[in-house]
Symmetry: D2
Subunit: 345 residues, 4 copies
Amino acid sequence: MIRVGIAGATGYTGAELVRILSNHPNVKITILTSRQNKGVPFDRVFPAMSGICDLICEEFSITKICDNSDVVFMALPHKLPMGYAPEILKAGKKVIDLSADFRFNDPAKYEKYYEPHVAKELLKDSVYGLCEIYFEKIKDANLIGNPGCYPTTVLLPLIPLLKSKLIDKNSIIVDSKSGVSGAGRSPSLTSLYCEATESFKAYKIGNHRHTPEMEEILSKEAGENVSITFTPHLVPMSRGMLSTIYATLSDGIKSSHIRDCLSSFYKARPFIRIKPDGMAPDTLHVRGTNYCDIGFKLDERKNRIIIISVIDNLVKGASGQAVQNMNIMFGIDEACSLKTIPFPV
Amino acid sequence: MIRVGIAGATGYTGAELVRILSNHPNVKITILTSRQNKGVPFDRVFPAMSGICDLICEEFSITKICDNSDVVFMALPHKLPMGYAPEILKAGKKVIDLSADFRFNDPAKYEKYYEPHVAKELLKDSVYGLCEIYFEKIKDANLIGNPGCYPTTVLLPLIPLLKSKLIDKNSIIVDSKSGVSGAGRSPSLTSLYCEATESFKAYKIGNHRHTPEMEEILSKEAGENVSITFTPHLVPMSRGMLSTIYATLSDGIKSSHIRDCLSSFYKARPFIRIKPDGMAPDTLHVRGTNYCDIGFKLDERKNRIIIISVIDNLVKGASGQAVQNMNIMFGIDEACSLKTIPFPV
Amino acid sequence: MIRVGIAGATGYTGAELVRILSNHPNVKITILTSRQNKGVPFDRVFPAMSGICDLICEEFSITKICDNSDVVFMALPHKLPMGYAPEILKAGKKVIDLSADFRFNDPAKYEKYYEPHVAKELLKDSVYGLCEIYFEKIKDANLIGNPGCYPTTVLLPLIPLLKSKLIDKNSIIVDSKSGVSGAGRSPSLTSLYCEATESFKAYKIGNHRHTPEMEEILSKEAGENVSITFTPHLVPMSRGMLSTIYATLSDGIKSSHIRDCLSSFYKARPFIRIKPDGMAPDTLHVRGTNYCDIGFKLDERKNRIIIISVIDNLVKGASGQAVQNMNIMFGIDEACSLKTIPFPV
Amino acid sequence: MIRVGIAGATGYTGAELVRILSNHPNVKITILTSRQNKGVPFDRVFPAMSGICDLICEEFSITKICDNSDVVFMALPHKLPMGYAPEILKAGKKVIDLSADFRFNDPAKYEKYYEPHVAKELLKDSVYGLCEIYFEKIKDANLIGNPGCYPTTVLLPLIPLLKSKLIDKNSIIVDSKSGVSGAGRSPSLTSLYCEATESFKAYKIGNHRHTPEMEEILSKEAGENVSITFTPHLVPMSRGMLSTIYATLSDGIKSSHIRDCLSSFYKARPFIRIKPDGMAPDTLHVRGTNYCDIGFKLDERKNRIIIISVIDNLVKGASGQAVQNMNIMFGIDEACSLKTIPFPV
């Protein structure tokens, strides 16, 4: 059994890790930490988990979490993980970090959008945990920078198309929409029910910090510098994320080229579903699952492609992908414990 | 493997059966029927199921469904099942009916609220599939009348208390609230998003047809005639049902008597969770699960008890309980394939 | 022009006062106070009000608010108003308090559920601002205790029936449901979108502090002691409140007696609508308005009445009724500026 | 008093016309027609209107509506209005049509996306009722083609920028999002609460029929051919529409040029609010109002502008703008009866 510790277990991504891992046949959750709820049974914080999880939340202690875990999931605000990771790795444990701290290879990019990086030496060995793209590297990794939710929706459809040069790398515009759970579980005015319901709005227009994360990976995979325009929006729903991506097609590219490219690239990947023509991806269809559904349509008059991708921001956009990374790192079927069947409604 | 046929597979309860049974280790779904979608792949009707279910919806045919199933779930409007059941049973198959057709032992009660019953002879052998109460009878049953959603929330807490004579049988008032999915998947004005959101209202006040169903079972279990006042309401949410039940306490009854009664009655039942004092059941805590959470509080000034029970109307209130019935009928662990971990949000 | 000051203008009830009064032909809003937003333009806190209200929020100052107002609305947490009211009244201004501080005539009842009362001497002259019941007293009042939202839904239908002795005063059970805005605008975990959506639950079961408020008024109007069982619930919607009220009918009382009683009692009242038989009140029908819609049905088998009343908790349940009180106090048409036409959806 | 007839009064836009006009000081609604509800009191179809509107829905009759109206609003499915309009105009009445039938000057464009046009001769005199742009023409018009909701959000910000040549006309990409009420009041599967909630999706990708409507007007105003890429999406909310518009800036254009252009163009217009830097338009801020809020941000790295505009699709996107047109046609203040103050939540 893989012994799992979860740091930051009472946020939404932490609790989602508990949900997914509670049914994992190869895993035993041994320790849950929570600053705000130390000493409180996890099923008092999440009464839904009564009878399912009987652990008590503890204060975070590196010694204790190392003693009791083979792998540590860090579902903490950025800045904290880079402080803890070096010691945990030194103790021979694996680390899957859901924050931004280990997503960048170039510390300067991280520091521009976040803060001074205190564990730069780890960045060269950390692996960006976009499972369908970096599967082979993940197998051997000890430290994973689990991708952001927006980047997951954008990178999965764009990487194959950029690698095959089917679209113009300078033309990319990303219009993304996220459910409210992306804002986390800390009480804030904008996340209140009355403020969010009947409210659709953009935020951090043109300067969201997932932009450099996407650009670093897109550039690496395209083999040349790629920059994008990115606008995130907030949708009055709990879970779900959809990105509508616009790009100019390379000369002579037709719908069939796009379909062939995506289908062959993701042929054997259990969580990528390329939608048939005329069927639009829908956040409801992936709710609670680790799927990324991708559809597209050509606007032939303007020689543009419109790509639509959807995920559950808490699953493929966070905790599901984190577990997928763990499965790959430990040589288990990558889909293990991630086969939640979606609800019809 | 148990071969399962589902009649009416494209309604919400039918699709929920497909969801639950798709992961069942002892089951193979062999046939899905749908009047409206015959010839259409199930995953075109529910694109969420792409890659999970590749069956094509067929027109209902008794011969065909009998040839391919060991058990038939009927997720059809009432009236149809009583027409089909006799022949299916004659073919040696088991039937689990989610309509009201086989919930009553007394055809007169059914006919008063529904319509003329055309298979009265089966009513004496049909078993009311409230699993925690009729477990032993269900084991040997061939025909199950799966309970209504409202009755499930009301009968589970009240039966132990009435059997132990802790409450006054004449004082029961039930104020129930249901999510919109209870109205089914057929387009109707009242189920439209714009009509339902920001709308809370009662309906069928004082004459909902789940009333006689509850009264028949309560009377049988109490050993004397029980009648209740029942008001259902519609809540702007998709899934979930909560009943607030008021009753006058018998002389000298204290909180501890109630707790002991409920706790001991449901001690070994995997899906009943009695909430600790001060914790209120919440539909969100049981969403997608087969749990029934029960809490209570005494209003000592008025010598009344306030009981609150919650379920997911599509799971414990319909398809989950139907699968639980199947498990019991086939000698499988009753919780098999029903251990969905609830989402934190 | 009546000069109006609003203390606590950036909570939901404060902002709702601004909305309603912005169109009032006899009113000029002169001062808005907000502890949290002092110095901030009101339309930065509520960008919807851009172009409508150009006031800047100020810190609360008794001198300043007295200098600039003929009437002060206090949309503050309880405890604060009783500290401010004496001085404002002494300055010859009228006070309409939306907190609980001046709702009770008996300070002991207030103190049991709230805290020590520091302006007890004012309680004998403060008027409970339930407009349809205390119209005559309100005309001459200088200090109004504006009713709670739950009490408004309960008192309006029950007072006429109790006065006419049509129901048994010992049998009253109130099952109430409120939208999330009732919890106010301060960020809290339970008011988060993700925690509230798909969540229906009871809270403060059997000991909500609106209970003594209702009981005091019911007892006064019935002329004898009345106590009730009260259970409030939280509904996943923004605005709206519905109470389902159960009571045993007095001997021989029929539906027509109830209808006659309510219709004649509220004949000339512009905001009370008695629903025809078979039409259920719906929160959506009163959203944004000052209406209280009342319907009822008899459960003849049990000799009970089921009464349903709905209001918008922020309007008739708070700020709308407060303005109605102001109108009455100043001798204006009580409906002035309160004739918002409800949205179809 | 202007006598107003509303054809199609029981759809959402029809009912919204009734709401807005019920308070209009210069208007008397004389006749409401509804195929589905003929003979039914309007306040039975919309119980919220009890005590406000006592008209009875009638079958549509040209004679009757002409006899009783000075202006006829047609809130009917396209195709019907072009059949009725000629005769109504001949009778000397004004017509404001909320369908697409009279939005195009070029019948070929209409026919390509809709159907054969049977009143082509009227197209040369019909005026496209985008009030802020065609104010002068509207004053003298007898026949208005009231703009589509999506076009309203797109044309208002783009026309000034295109006229001033601040953006590249070939680069325009429009990503729009609409609440569910845009789909109307006829029951349909996709508009069901359970299908819409937690569902965000695109539809009619790249071929929605509002595209030619937008292109015709943009081309006319730009003085050259303009074509756009347009993707509409469905948001789980009742009312509200937001468009995110991307375009490449002309050489040397800075933020201040954009702001100056929009501010001066709309200086005197009561319903256009240009948001200050850093404040994002939000559907909640315009809910129930006739405002169009416009904000923008430059992505300087890519030399693109991101424009965001929001309206209430049923008000400025339909019935509010229709009433604004009426006001202009009859020489009344264009804002008359359209000054609904937005709710804080």
